[in-house]
């Protein structure tokens, strides 16, 4: 397809129907009286045997004049044709996030983007075509194809269901694919993060529209001793104040219902204490532009308790630990078979699943460390710990044993170390002198034990969390070597688990069920995945605009050649033919 330099020249096209009108008026049937129709008898008979109505016929010269006029009009438009040797590959980055499906069917940004893509593909040719879906990560929708018609199958894979659109990563992938020589088209619903696009031939087309949208931005269910506490957080992510209805149900029972009136970008939190026995809670918002973020589900969380065996000979210390374990609320009432053995023996505890917490012996005269303490803050044991201001008594001569990973140290003196044995059990060593320390009198002490029990609980078979955000990893420790995952649409997938932990393939929100283990020891758990992406649900910033171009004016001139001389030549040839026919007919038209 050619590009048009002067679109206003289309006005000249009015000369074409004018010419036809002139010829029509000139060549309509003129009345001619004749002496008799006797001499036209043959024509009359054939007419009566066939059609009665005959449209006016134009002479050949009319068509030549029409062609000349059309050529001149086309020449006035200033058409430029793309040169074959200047075509580049086209890489289209498609925003695969949920916001591209906002709005009624047929008017969604995805529909607009497809329309625009088709227009661009009709306008000019490219050397090849490649589609990249930009969801939480970039995803190639298929191989590079030489013809745009072959993109249809790939476009059907563009589902617009992701909780985020990492367009930067997709652009980086596009650059890596073609080393920057491709024309990159970004089809999304929002403006680029920065006004300056990344270097390269990038054309950013936003086809979004601001719409009214309420969304769940947070949903959690935490177990407590008396029951569960459920949290739902709803935000108005529209460009203006709006109303919506929040309704929370458990089965047929309506737990909560309220009409919400929220200003733009305001949130509303609902905290519901529910019995631990209550099943899945489902929260729902009324219809708005984006349906995918109007539902959230919270399944009953699994209470993970750890079977702890106490083998501490020091009675004071044993009492301290027992009270601390009770304070965490994570200790199971039974201890057989033990999952955690707290001991003062330098031998490893027995039991295939038994982790160990070893209180290393401390001398009578131990050192009182006041800091500074060095912590591996990424380790599960140090989550939430702050040690400044405490006194930690420990053996000043203690050294880190080979294979042990220091977690907390006072200078070069290890205070807490861990080692993973060959059965993947964790052995924690604690250098701790209670009589020289104040740490057991601070909240850091039960926090340390809570971290230990929680760490151990997470290593139990099953899911560490039962209510998750879409996009978060869902680790799972199955019982046995296989697991069966049931999706929200009730389809099932068998998963092989050669290693101890796998990541469940969760792509859409809903309530899933995962089952593993033998018949006699089956582990069945449900978990909910909710679309909780405030940034993606926010339609107030959706916009229709364009940024960047595929080349400068000079590049475009280089890539597009004018066809004006050819049109003029054709028009001249037509004029000569016109002249010849006029001369041949001696002026009769």
């Amino acid at each position: 397809m050619p590009t048009i330099t002067y679109p206003l020249a289309w006005l000249a096209a009015i000369s074409l129907p004018l010419l036809a009108a002139i010829y029509f008026l000139r060549h309509r049937f003129r009345k001619l009286p004749v002496s008799s129709l006797l001499l036209w008898q043959m024509q009359k008979e054939s007419r009566e045997g066939g059609r009665r109505f005959e449209t006016p016929k134009f002479p050949p010269i009319f068509f030549i004049e029409l062609l000349i006029l059309a050529l001149l009009v086309f020449a006035a438009l200033g058409p430029r044709w793309q040169l074959p040797h200047t075509t580049r590959p086209l890489i289209v980055v498609l925003d695969d996030s949920l916001s591209m499906s906002a709005g009624p069917a047929g008017q969604q940004p995805r529909d607009e983007a497809l329309k625009l893509l088709n227009e661009i593909l009709a306008e000019r040719d490219f050397a090849s075509y490649q589609l990249i879906a930009a969801g939480a990560g970039p995803r190639l929708l298929g191989d590079t194809v030489p013809h745009p018609n072959q993109l249809k199958d790939q476009i059907s894979l563009w589902t617009c269901s992701a909780h985020a659109a990492d367009l930067d990563a997709a652009l980086a992938l596009a650059r890596n694919l073609r080393k920057g020589d491709a024309d990159v088209l970004v089809l999304t619903d929002h403006a680029p993060a920065e006004s300056d696009l990344p270097p390269g031939r990038i054309r950013w087309e936003a086809v979004g529209k601001p719409r009214v949208n309420f969304a769940f931005v947070n949903a959690a269910r935490t177990p407590h001793a008396a029951g569960d506490r459920c949290l739902f957080e709803v935000a108005n992510l529209s460009a203006s104040a709006a109303t919506n209805t929040l309704r929370v149900t458990a089965g047929q029972q309506v737990v909560y219902e309220k009409r919400l009136l929220l200003e733009t970008n305001r949130t509303h939190r609902v905290t519901l204490p529910v019995p631990a026995t209550m099943g899945t809670l489902r929260a729902e918002l009324g219809d708005d532009a984006l349906a995918g973020d109007n539902r959230a589900a919270l399944v009953r969380p699994r209470r993970r308790l750890v079977r702890v065996q106490m083998s501490v000979t020091d009675t004071n210390l044993a009492q301290l630990i027992t009270e601390t374990l009770a304070a965490t609320g994570l200790r199971a009432p039974t201890n057989q078979p033990p999952e955690l053995v707290i001991h003062q023996s330098d031998t490893l505890p027995a039991g295939r699943e038994a982790w160990g917490l070893y209180f290393a012996p401390v001398p009578e005269k131990s050192e009182r460390f006041t800091g500074p303490f060095v912590m591996d803050t990424t380790h599960p044991l140090t989550h939430g710990l702050t040690l400044p201001g405490i006194v930690w008594g420990a053996n000043a001569t203690a050294t880190n044993a080979p294979g042990h990973l220091p977690i907390i140290t006072a200078g070069n003196v290890p205070l807490v170390t861990t080692r993973t044995d060959r059965r993947a059990r964790e052995q924690v060593t604690l250098h701790f002198a209670p009589t020289q320390s104040t740490v057991q009198d601070t909240p850091q002490w039960p926090a340390l034990f809570w971290n230990l029990l929680h760490w151990r609980a997470r290593a139990q078979p099953g899911l560490p969390e039962n209510n998750l955000r879409l996009g978060a990893e869902v680790p799972y420790r199955p019982r046995g070597k296989t697991a069966t995952l049931t999706f929200p649409d009730k389809t099932e997938q068998q998963l092989d688990t050669p290693s101890g932990e796998i990541r469940l393939p969760v792509k859409q929100p809903g309530v899933y069920t995962v089952v593993s283990g033998a018949q006699t020891n089956r582990l069945r758990e449900s978990f909910a995945v909710n679309f909780l992406a405030g940034a993606e649900s926010n339609l107030s910033a959706a916009v229709t605009d364009k940024w960047g171009a595929w080349g400068t004016e000079e590049e475009v001139r280089y890539e597009y050649a004018s066809v004006l001389p050819y049109l003029i030549l054709l028009a001249l040839a037509g004029a000569l033919a016109h002249l010849w026919m006029i001369a041949r007919q001696r002026g009769r038209t």
Partner: protein, 288 residues
């Protein structure tokens, strides 16, 4: 009568003064006149002898022959008759085609022939089509005294002849002026018109637009006689077909004339002044 047509009569009369009707060689009949008739009469030209029969004029007995043969022999002389011209005019609507010289040419030609007949001392009668054939008023007078020739009759020549044929004088000259554009076989009509005629001349008077097909283009043809229309796009092939059809029609008239002993000629109304020689060629006119 429209002034131009009256002028055509006067013009035709003036042209006709230069011509005389070319009388046929065959003996004619008619009222007593100045031309020798085919029967015995009272002229000075000897014709034949025959035996006397009672009642014969005794003045015609050839006494010399009686002396030689002793038989009463009567001497017969040729009768003297005045030749007669029946001018049969097609005044149907087709002869009154607008924007052509056809009606003017018809008037001019009729006046010319009437004047030429007078120059040849012929009596004349003018017949025109209408609801049958009718005599033109004052047709025995010079053309300037004729009443108007009413043009535009709805009946064609053939229909008018079928309805009421002209009462033509026997052994007279007959001249038909028509465009001959009517359907059907011309032979029956022509045979009736030639019956008892001393001679029959058929003058096909066409307008130039009749003789040549219209220019190419979209045309709605209207039959001036019946009002019937035909919309058609005329191109080279259609024009050729038209010419072929006209030629075929003329050929059929030519054949019919040949069978009836009539003379046929075609004149173009617009070229009438230059085509009077054709009338001499068919021995209808001769210089006076």
């Amino acid at each position: 009568m429209k002034a131009p047509l009256r002028q055509s009569l006067i013009d035709g009369e003036q042209v006709g003064l230069r011509y005389a009707l070319c009388l046929p060689n065959s003996p004619m009949s008619g009222v007593r006149g100045e031309r020798l008739g085919r029967r015995a009469g009272s002229s000075v030209d000897f014709q034949d002898y025959r035996e006397y029969q009672p009642g014969d004029d005794l003045r015609h007995i050839d006494w010399n022959a009686y002396a030689r043969s002793n038989q009463l022999i009567v001497k017969l002389h040729r009768e003297e008759v005045q030749p007669h011209l029946d001018l049969i005019l097609d005044t149907s609507a087709s002869m009154n085609l607008p924007d052509t010289d056809k009606p003017a040419a018809l008037h001019q030609l009729a006046a010319l022939l009437a004047t030429a007949a007078a120059n040849a001392r012929c009596s004349q009668a003018l017949w025109m089509t209408g609801e049958g054939f009718q005599r033109v008023r004052n047709d025995t007078q010079p053309p300037g005294a004729w009443g108007e020739l009413p043009m535009g009759g709805a009946r064609s020549f053939e229909e008018a002849h079928g309805l009421l044929p002209p009462r033509l004088r026997r052994q007279g000259m007959r001249v038909i002026i028509s465009d001959l554009l009517w359907p059907g076989d011309p032979l029956p009509t022509l045979r009736k018109l030639s019956e008892g005629a001393a001679s029959l001349h058929v003058i096909q008077l066409l307008a130039r637009t009749d003789a040549t097909a219209p220019e190419p283009g979209n045309v709605q043809l209207q039959d001036h006689e019946t009002g019937e229309t035909l919309s058609i796009y005329i191109d080279a092939s259609i024009r050729q077909t038209y010419r072929d059809t006209l030629r075929s029609l003329q050929q059929s008239w030519h054949n019919a004339c040949k069978q009836t002993g009539a003379q046929l000629t075609t004149l173009i109304a617009e070229d009438l002044g230059q085509s009077l020689s054709a009338l001499e060629e068919i021995q209808l006119l001769e210089p006076a």
